[in-house]
């Protein structure tokens, strides 16, 4: 089936060339980091995780969100999603690979990373995260391959795949739950140590992921003859609306508990995030722009007339993705480190090489998803013809 990715118009090849160029730049930046050490990033003694781990966290959510098309289709027999489950699974595959790469580029000793598998350490959440991510990647590759090749041949997928598909649903929930556990189990970090973290992660993931999927569906419709269908897209927007509302609610719960209880260790972090501490105000504009984007998007999503308008919807999706990306991909991780457990306030901002490496990883994801979607679309177009 891979040969379908090797035929394409000028637009396709130009896009691939751009993506590959970004990958190469990212790779060069990574080699530089490999030689010099992680000191080339903006991380420091006090802010020991930064952009890489934050992107990882965001992308785990995107990966998990495939469940939002798989679940309605397989458990509720929502037929309109039949055509796009594969798009969700392909998105999951590329996202999980990006997650793994973001972890990899964050390692001080990348050559030793397989020690995690050589010495399974059950009391470390990072071990479980690696297991759940690896398993999820495997499940999605297997499911999309089996289901899709059956479909390409015009036959029904084999029966044994159904339980595996059902298994992938709780598994998707597990990847983001375990990722939240990475943070929420740390007594040293009051900002993360909250039981709402995993639910919040899932809610925001089920808003951001389907938003990305809507944008991809609209893009696919524009550049190919394969149409995912208005019904599927509108249903996705409904899912985004619910997830955004739930996420908003969770954020309020978090703010109430943190602020009303008045425990300094909790308040300090919110203080830094929304108001800054002294001259350290680096995240303030991000925090507010994220909040505004999310509130505006939520209001628009809650109005059915606005939400169902397919000309406005992509803009709502952009706001959702941007707002949640800032929330998870910038604010969440850094704020956990400021102030540090011993009370130091050290700010963080990513450096140029750090950003290039990050872009490179995103480009690898873009390359994978382009190729996968290209194959998917080719088969869908052949069906339509």
């Amino acid at each position: 089936m891979l040969e379908k990715a090797l035929t394409g118009g000028k637009r396709y090849w130009t896009w691939l060339a751009v993506v590959v160029a970004v990958i190469v730049i990212g790779l060069v930046a990574y080699l530089y980091q490999l030689r010099e050490g992680l000191g080339i990033t903006g991380m420091s003694r006090d802010v020991t995780w930064g952009f890489y781990i934050a992107q990882f966290t965001f992308m785990v959510g995107v990966a998990a969100s495939a469940v939002m098309v798989v679940l309605p289709y397989y458990l509720h027999n929502f037929k309109a999603f039949g055509k796009i489950t594969i798009l969700g699974e392909f998105l999951a595959i590329s996202s999980v690979i990006m997650c793994m790469l973001f972890i990899f580029v964050d390692m001080g000793q990348p050559a030793r990373v397989f020690n995690v598998l050589l010495h399974p350490t059950l009391h470390s959440m990072m071990f479980w995260d690696m297991m759940s991510l690896g398993g999820y990647l495997f499940l999605n590759i297997l499911i999309s391959r089996v289901v899709f090749s059956a479909e390409a041949k015009g036959i029904a997928p084999p029966k044994w795949i159904k339980p595996i598909i059902i298994l992938s649903i709780p598994w998707a929930v597990s990847i983001h739950t375990v990722t939240a556990f990475l943070y929420s189990g740390l007594s040293a970090r009051p900002f993360w140590m909250t039981a709402i973290l995993a639910p919040r992660f899932l809610a925001s993931a089920f808003a951001a992921g389907p938003s990305i999927l809507i944008l991809l569906c609209l893009l696919v419709r524009k550049v190919s003859r394969f149409d995912p269908g208005d019904k599927a897209i509108r249903k996705l927007s409904e899912i985004v609306a619910y997830a955004m509302a739930v996420n908003f609610f969770f954020v309020l719960l978090e703010l109430f508990t943190g602020l009303y209880s008045g425990i300094p260790q909790h308040i300090e972090h919110f203080h830094y995030l929304f108001l800054g501490i002294g001259s350290a105000t680096g995240l303030v504009p991000w925090a507010w722009s994220s909040s505004i984007l999310m509130v505006v998007a939520l209001v628009m999503l809650l109005l059915p007339k606005v939400r169902t308008n397919l000309r406005i919807l992509p803009w709502i999706c952009v706001m959702v993705v941007l707002g949640l990306w800032i929330d998870k991909g910038i604010d969440l991780i850094v704020t956990g480190f400021v102030p540090s457990p011993v009370g130091t306030v050290t700010e963080y901002s990513p450096t140029a090489p750090e950003l290039l490496i990050t872009l490179g990883v995103y480009a690898i994801g873009a390359l994978i998803i382009t190729v996968l979607y290209k194959i998917g679309i080719a088969v869908r177009e052949a069906e339509a013809a």
């Binding site: 010099e36 050490g37 992680l38 000191g39 991380m43 420091s44 003694r45 006090d46 020991t48 995780w49 972890i103 964050d106 390692m107 001080g108 000793q109 990348p110 030793r112 990373v113 020690n115 995690v116 050589l118 010495h119 350490t121 009391h123 470390s124 959440m125 990072m126 071990f127 690696m130 990475l182 943070y183 189990g185 740390l186 007594s187 040293a188 970090r189 300094p264 260790q265 300090e268 956990g336 480190f337 102030p339 540090s340 457990p341 011993v342 009370g343 130091t344």
Partner: protein, 291 residues
């Protein structure tokens, strides 16, 4: 027919089994091993190799020791908050003793300057005080280093068992096994773990040649390091460098299992506190008010 089928299936499983075993054996024999797991002679061999590398790198003989924990010894530390004057002599003695990178700068001890009226409240601590003279009026000082917790949050999160607590209470890091994920740094409530963000900058003249493989031997870049109660000294019956360096005698160290030890006296007779007691980390590092 049935027997034939049975045999052939059997053969496949046997082959699979053999291949699997061979692959497994290959992995365990050729794959990397933690220094901690090596048998004594193999460890010595690995340490000899290290010594040779260091000799080439620094142009002088560096001894890499492997003294084990002593039976009946569990180390504890006590720091007299009423005596500490915040001079940071301990910080620099530690850097020199433990071969910390000078550039990028790593210091295992940091000293919090706090207003007396606030009490031990780290949220308002100032670590970058620089008056002409210490102590400043109205201030007191809390030096913070690894608390050598009995319930260490850092070792719990390590995904590769590259850090653990030794029987004598010292939490150590295997620099050959650490993957540099810095999860332990996120987990430590005392900011006591430090990462080598670049190749450690250590002038050969500054190298302390008396080292321990789990302690102050020169580190590679990309791994985490921390205070080890000067494992290279204390396991040979000496005091940690910070204890010796303190000009006001604020630092006490010894075997908590020995009823006649100084730390034991302090813990039994003085008003002691531990940092962040509510987190149940159970530090082996006590602060007290001696006067």
């Amino acid at each position: 027919m049935e027997t034939e089928k049975g045999i052939s299936m059997n053969r496949i499983t046997r082959r699979k089994f053999l291949v699997g075993t061979a692959a497994g054996m290959l992995m365990t024999s050729c794959g990397p091993k933690r220094l901690y797991e090596l048998a004594r002679p193999d460890l010595r061999e690995a340490l000899d190799r290290m010594e040779k590398e260091y000799a080439v790198k620094y142009g002088k003989a560096v001894k890499v020791g492997s003294e084990g924990p002593i039976k009946g010894v569990k180390f504890a530390y006590a720091l007299d908050l009423s005596r500490c004057i915040g001079c940071r002599t301990c910080v620099h003695a530690c850097v020199h003793e433990n071969n910390q990178s000078r550039d990028p700068e790593i210091q295992w001890i940091r000293v919090a300057g706090i207003d007396k009226e606030r009490g031990v409240d780290l949220t308002h601590a100032d670590y970058y005080y620089h008056p002409d003279k210490v102590p400043e009026p109205g201030k007191f000082y809390v030096p913070i280093q690894c608390q050598q917790c009995d319930n260490p949050p850092c070792t719990k999160v390590c995904p590769v068992k590259a850090t653990w607590k030794e029987p004598d209470g010292i939490v150590v890091v295997d620099y050959e096994w650490c993957i540099g994920c810095r999860y332990c740094m996120a987990a430590c409530p005392y900011g006591a773990r430090h990462f080598n963000w670049g190749e450690p900058g250590l002038d050969p003249a500054d190298v302390n040649p008396d080292t321990h493989y789990l302690g102050n031997r020169p580190r590679p870049k990309g791994v985490v390091e921390k205070c080890t109660f000067c494992i290279q000294r204390t396991r040979k019956g000496r005091y940690p460098a910070c204890v010796e360096a303190c000009p006001v005698g604020a630092r006490k160290f010894g075997n908590i299992l020995d009823p006649d030890s100084e730390v034991r006296y302090v813990i039994e007779n003085k008003r002691v506190l531990v940092l962040k007691e509510e987190l149940n980390t159970i530090p082996s590092f006590f602060y007290f008010y001696g006067v």
